[in-house]
Each structure stands twice: as C-alpha cells, then as structure tokens.
C-alpha cells in the first residue's frame, strides 16, 4: 500500500459529492471533517476581526491622550475584542476545529455520535456570532461593558447590551452540544481494543473539556438571562436598590467563566501532549499522570472562580478559600509541565515547525502560570488587580498557551487535513516573528501593570508612555508574523507539496489513514492491540 493517499480509489472528504452540490455540500454536511473546516474558516475570519480590534487598541495606546479614538469608542472596542476572542475564538477554537476533525479518527470511529447535532452546533455558532455582532450596528450603540457584562452597569447602560448578551447565550448552546457529542462519542465509539487508558491524550483532553462545557456553560446561560431580566423587568437580583447584590452577578458569571479558561487551555495541553512525543521520537512520559491531571484540572477548576473577585468585597473566609484552591489547581498543571519536559529529555528531537510552537508553548505557559500565582496570592493581587498585569497574564496563558498550541496543532495536522505540506521556511519565519512581537507586546504589560497602569483605559499617565510604545510596536511585529503564518497556510493548502499518510512518524491512529482522509476515515474499523 502506497504511503500516499488512495485517491484513485475513493475521493477524499474534500472532494466527494453527496446529496448537495458545491458549497451546500459543505454547509449541510454532517461529515465531522467538513464541519471542522467550516469552524476553521469561520473562526479564522472572526479571529482576524478580533485581532484588528486589538491592534486598534494598541494604536490608541501608543501615545497618551486620544490618539485614534476617545474613551467611549475605546470601551466599545475592548468590549467587542473580548466578546469576539472569548466566545467566538478561544472557547470553541480547538474542540470545534481540531477536535471535530480528529477525535473520531484518533479513536477509530467513522464520525461522532450525533453527526446532525454536530452540524447544528455550527449553525448555532454562526447564529450566535451574527446576533453578537449585530450589537455593533443596532440599538443605541455598541456595548461598552467589557465582555464581562458586570452589574450594575450592564443593566443600566444605554448601549446595546441585549444583543451581545443574547449572542453569547446562543453561542453557549453550540459549546454545550459539542461537549455532549464528544462525551458520548468517547464513551461509546472507541475502536475495539481501545480501552480508556489506551485512548490518546488529545481525546482525553477533549473529554475533560467536554465535561466543563456541559456543566459550566448553563450557569452562564442563566446569568445572561438574568441580565436581560434585570434590564427589561427590573427583577432586582443584582440591583442594591431592590435588595440585590451586584457581587452575586460576579459570582454567577465567574462560576462559568473560570472553568471556561480550562475549556480554553485543556485542549491546547492535549495538542502539546501529542506534538512533543512525536517530535521527540519518544512516548509521552507519565501518560496516566497526565490523564489524571487533566481530570483534576477540570474538577478543581470549578472552585477557584473567586480569585477574579478578590477586591470586590467578599468575606475574609471566601478570600482565603479561593486563594488556597487557586494554588491547588496549579499543581496538576505543573505536573503536566514536568511530564512534557521529561518526554523531551533524551529524546531525538525533530526541529520542525510544530515542535517550535510546542517548545515555546512551554515557556509562555510557564510565564502565564507563574504570574497567575502572583494574581492568586491575596496580598499581591490587591496591587495588580485591574492593571495591565492581568491583561499580560491572561494573554500569555490564552494566547501564548492555547494560541501557540493551536498553531502547533494546525501545522502538525495540516498534512492530514489538507493532504499537503505547509512551507517550512515561511512557517518558521512566521513563528519567530510572531513570538518576538508577542513577547514585546505582552511582556512590557507586566511591568506597566506593576507600575500601576490600569486596564481598560484609553489613556494613561506620561510615565507609562515608553512601555506602551514598545508594547504597541510589538503588536505590529506580532501581527506581521500572524499574516505570514496565515498566508503561508492558505497558499500551502492549495499548492503545498503532497503529503504522505505519516510525515512525522506519529503513533496515533490518524497517521494510518489517508492524507486527506476519505469520507468514512477507515476502510475497516481497526482493532487496537
């Protein structure tokens, strides 16, 4: 059997024609691979919009005073930037794109448990995106509450909070359905012989993530509805004048939104657990420890939400409890880092693009994680809460962590998804450029935050000027790197060198099927030894 695709026998998932022709064959497809690509294209589109918004913010901040926009516009821009990046990109991100594409193949299945529900998830995603973005153009102006929609401003603001909140509510269903689909798929459709502890680590990561999607998202759902009720009916739950407590909004909001960050990072960690062994040509060190750490992160992650609220007015007992739990949840993440390092130790490293992303992930994740401890510690938190330090922390861990893992995964699985190799030199140039820009963009913010620069302000004191200049220039470099990466991938998808089934020497099932795979992935469901 040739190491290349059997394209003369059966068309790939990219090419076959089913009941519908052309683009309809894609937007009505229940094939998990096509759905994965639908998500890829939509998410990348929204990502570019979100990135442009971020760039606009950095351009405003390059000098004190009003540079390209005033206070109100700035508030609207950072609100949409947050909503886009959080709800449209990083929460769906890896599960919807790489999870959808790879999960069935990696466990030896032909598709997910509920293929039509899978397509519905994407349709709901698009609907939610449209509703959320409509907030920019309808009503009394784009929302300016921040993506966190804190009470009381969220129920008092004249701006179009309703559309944004409803958009987020709709998007929640997409997330829930994806999680539901993945859990049932993994419980019931693993190939014969693939016991739970033979399942690869990327599916395991998706499993932990899926539970969070199921159990946390509904809390956001009800919270958003309560904001609507507050705005339209004066229900009073968050309004002190009627007996409510604005802090209760924060509790409810973060009860979802903290677990949500584990929805973001766990799949990224799963990608790293696939890349590093392959490019070290060594099995992962401590498979079981990583599985258990994944589940522990998902579980303990439910109980730390109060660390977003240390300065808001909680009781001393709550402060203590949340800080303690926050330190606890760091432990399983640290265990994973040790296991990843041990995987590379004495390995035979292949210096290729996915490895570069994977290795730099470790650095970015460590920085993000350690600064998280600064934030999780009560005394230091008071000093840096609501400063640029926080912004730096979460960009290091979401963008530097999940983002880097995502780019690593895209390059790693690119040959499988598109049947072609990406251009290595442009990819690596893109990586270096991106990373250098990233470090300057966000690294300076740690300093700025400690020095006292607040977040979510369009203006700042003159003493913060130099740091902001460096940061904003970093943004321009980073965006250049981003352009190189994305353009390279787009061109390579069409014109790249044809890829074999297994360009990397991967040990998991996806490397045994055609690149790109046929419609049903496997000619025959494999039996795992």
């Amino acid at each position: 059997m040739s190491q290349y695709s059997n394209q003369d026998q059966e068309p790939s998932y990219l090419k076959y024609q089913g009941k519908y022709k052309g683009i309809l064959g894609w937007i009505f497809s229940t094939d998990h691979k096509r759905i994965g690509l639908l998500y890829l294209y939509s998410i990348m589109t929204f990502f570019i919009i979100g990135a442009i918004l971020g760039l606009l913010m950095k351009l405003e901040l390059i000098a004190p005073g009003e540079t390209i926009m005033g206070a109100e516009e700035y508030n609207a821009v950072f609100t949409l930037h947050g909503i886009t990046m959080i709800f449209l990109i990083v929460i769906p991100g890896v599960p919807a794109i790489l999870g959808n594409f790879l999960l069935p193949i990696m466990i030896g299945a032909k598709d997910v448990a509920f293929p039509r529900l899978n397509l519905l998830s994407w349709w709901i995603y698009i609907l939610g995106a449209i509703v959320a973005i409509s907030s920019q153009f309808m009503g009394q102006g784009p929302p300016d509450t921040g993506w966190t929609f804190y009470a009381p401003y969220s129920y008092q603001a004249q701006s179009n909070v309703l559309a944004a909140v409803l958009g987020a509510f709709i998007l929640g269903f997409s997330s829930i359905l994806t999680g539901l689909n993945f859990i049932v798929t993994m419980h019931r459709m693993r190939a014969p012989g693939m016991t739970w502890f033979k399942m690869p680590l990327f599916p395991w990561a998706l499993y932990g993530t899926a539970w969070i999607q199921i159990l946390a998202t509904p809390v956001l759902g009800i919270t958003l509805l309560l904001v609507v009720a507050e705005r339209t009916l004066n229900i009073g739950f968050f309004n002190p004048a009627l007996g409510g407590d604005p802090l209760l909004y924060q509790h409810l909001f973060w009860i979802y939104s903290h677990p949500a960050v584990y929805i973001m990072i766990l799949p990224g960690m799963g990608i790293i657990s696939e890349i590093l062994p392959t490019f070290s040509r060594k099995p992962i060190f401590g498979y079981r420890a990583i599985v258990i750490s994944t589940l522990l992160i998902a579980f303990v992650g439910y109980f730390v939400w109060g660390h977003h609220m240390f300065t808001a007015g909680m009781s001393g007992t709550a402060l203590f409890a949340f800080s303690f739990l926050t330190f606890l949840v760091a432990i399983p993440s640290a265990i994973k880092v040790f296991n990843w390092l041990a995987t590379m130790y004495k390995g035979s490293i292949m210096l290729r693009t996915p490895f570069y992303w994977g290795a730099s992930f470790l650095f970015m994740f460590m920085v993000g994680g350690l600064t998280g401890l600064v934030l999780g510690s009560l005394a230091t938190n008071v000093h840096v809460h609501d400063t640029a330090f926080v912004v730096a922390h979460f960009h290091f861990i979401i963008f530097g962590g999940l983002g880097f893992a995502f780019f690593g995964g895209i390059h790693y699985w690119f040959p499988k998804i598109f049947g072609r190799m990406y251009d290595e030199r442009w990819a690596n140039l893109g990586w270096v450029t991106f990373m250098v820009g990233f470090l300057f963009l966000y690294g300076t913010m740690f300093y700025l935050g400690i020095a006292g620069m607040p977040r979510r302000y369009f203006d700042y004191l003159p003493e913060y000027h130099t740091g902001n200049v460096i940061s904003s220039l970093g943004a321009i470099v980073m965006v250049t790197g981003l352009a190189i990466i994305i353009i390279n991938l787009i061109i390579s998808a069409r014109h790249g060198e044809k890829a074999p089934k297994d360009p990397w020497g991967g040990q998991t099932l996806e490397w045994q099927v055609d690149s790109p795979p046929t419609k049903e992935n496997f000619h025959e469901i494999p039996t795992v030894q």
Binding site: A109, L117, V184, T195, L215, G236, L252
Partner: protein, 206 residues
C-alpha cells in the same frame, strides 16, 4: 470502566448513545436551574423573615395539588415505557395521553395562580413589586423567574409528548426503537424533579 469498552460494531444500533446524550442534556438543565437555586439560597439566607412571610401569600393547596399532578404524570409516562417494551402500542398511547392531560392541567393551575398575583399588581416588572420591601421583591422575582422557567419547560415537555403520541400512533415508535419515548420520559421526569424542589422552597417555607 472495563465494561465501557464494549465492542459495538458501529453499524449496530447502540441504545446507550441516545440515552447517554439525553442524560448529559439533563445535566445541563440541572445546572441551568441550579443557577437560580443558588440565587434563591443567597437571598433566602439574607432575607429569612421576608421570605417566610411572602411565602404565606402562596396557596399551599394549589401547590400540593400541582405537585401530585406532576408526580402522577411522571408515573404514567414511566409506565408508558413498560407498555412499549411489552409491545402494547395502545396502552403506551393511552398512558401518554394521560400524561399530556395532567401536564395541561398543571399549566392551567399555574395560570390561575399567576393571574391572581397579576390582579394584585404582582407581576414581573410591576411598580408594586419594586416598591415592596427588599426581601419581598426578591422573593417574587425568584418566584416568577423559577416557576416561569419551569412552566416553559413543562410546555416544551407537553409538545414533546404530543410528538411522541403521534409517532406511537403511526407505529414509528415500537418495542424495538423507542429512544424518543425514553428520552421524552427522562425530560419529563427532570421537569418533575425541579418542581419537587420548587414546591417546598416557595410554598412550604412557612
């Protein structure tokens, strides 16, 4: 979980797939209502007396009757599972019909309860409600939010039951393939469970 890795050749119909999917959906509903129960817990803790007295304005008799109605309807829809598995299409249909009717009666009772409150100016968003004491405003806010959301789910359940009845009549649901019936039953029991908690928390706090 050694029993989980059952070798299911993927062409065979796997009963557990729709069932597990439904249970996961039920979990989302539990957490969804759970958010409201959390709000209730906080405000009950902060306003114990006000909640106590406000609850006295609710009619325990209607509440108890409604509780029993839902419990009976849960029993009948559970029995419809027995019926379909015994290949008794007609009994299945009749039990579903009873369930449906009980669901409708529940909603009718609820409407009367609510209308009575509306007549006194106690409705979501009303001036009267906002000018009561804090504890009362919150109690009524929670009452309407939670029983309202619950009633919405009852309506959805009733519609589901109609769909299932039609399919049973047409022979599309049988002793071999009854996932829709089973899952609709699970949904209905969920609706029942939520009410099992709403009843004491709003009617019996006195």
């Amino acid at each position: 979980m050694a029993t989980e890795q059952v070798v299911q050749h993927q062409e065979e119909y796997d009963r557990e797939i729709p069932k597990l999917g439904m249970w996961l959906f039920i979990f989302t509903e539990l957490l969804f209502f759970g958010g409201l129960f959390l709000v209730y817990t906080v405000y009950r803790f902060e306003n114990p007396k006000a909640f106590h007295f406000a609850a006295e304005e609710l009619d325990v008799t209607i509440g108890t009757v409604n509780t029993i109605i839902l419990l009976v309807s849960s029993a009948t829809i559970a029995m419809s599972m027995t019926a379909i598995q015994k290949k008794q299409q007609r009994n299945t249909f009749l039990l579903l019909l009873v369930t449906f009717l009980l669901g409708v009666v529940f909603l009718v009772n609820k409407s009367f309860e609510w209308l009575e409150k509306f007549e006194h100016g106690h409705y979501p968003g009303s001036e009267t409600l906002q000018s009561l004491g804090h504890g009362d405003t919150l109690f009524y806010g929670l009452y309407f939010a939670m029983t309202g959301l619950h009633a919405l789910h009852v309506v959805i359940g009733v519609i589901l039951i109609i769909v299932v009845m039609v399919k049973v009549k047409k022979g599309l649901i049988t002793g071999e393939r009854y996932a829709l019936l089973e899952n609709s039953g699970l949904y209905w029991h969920l609706v029942d469970i939520i009410w099992i908690f709403l009843f004491p928390l709003f009617y019996l706090v006195t």
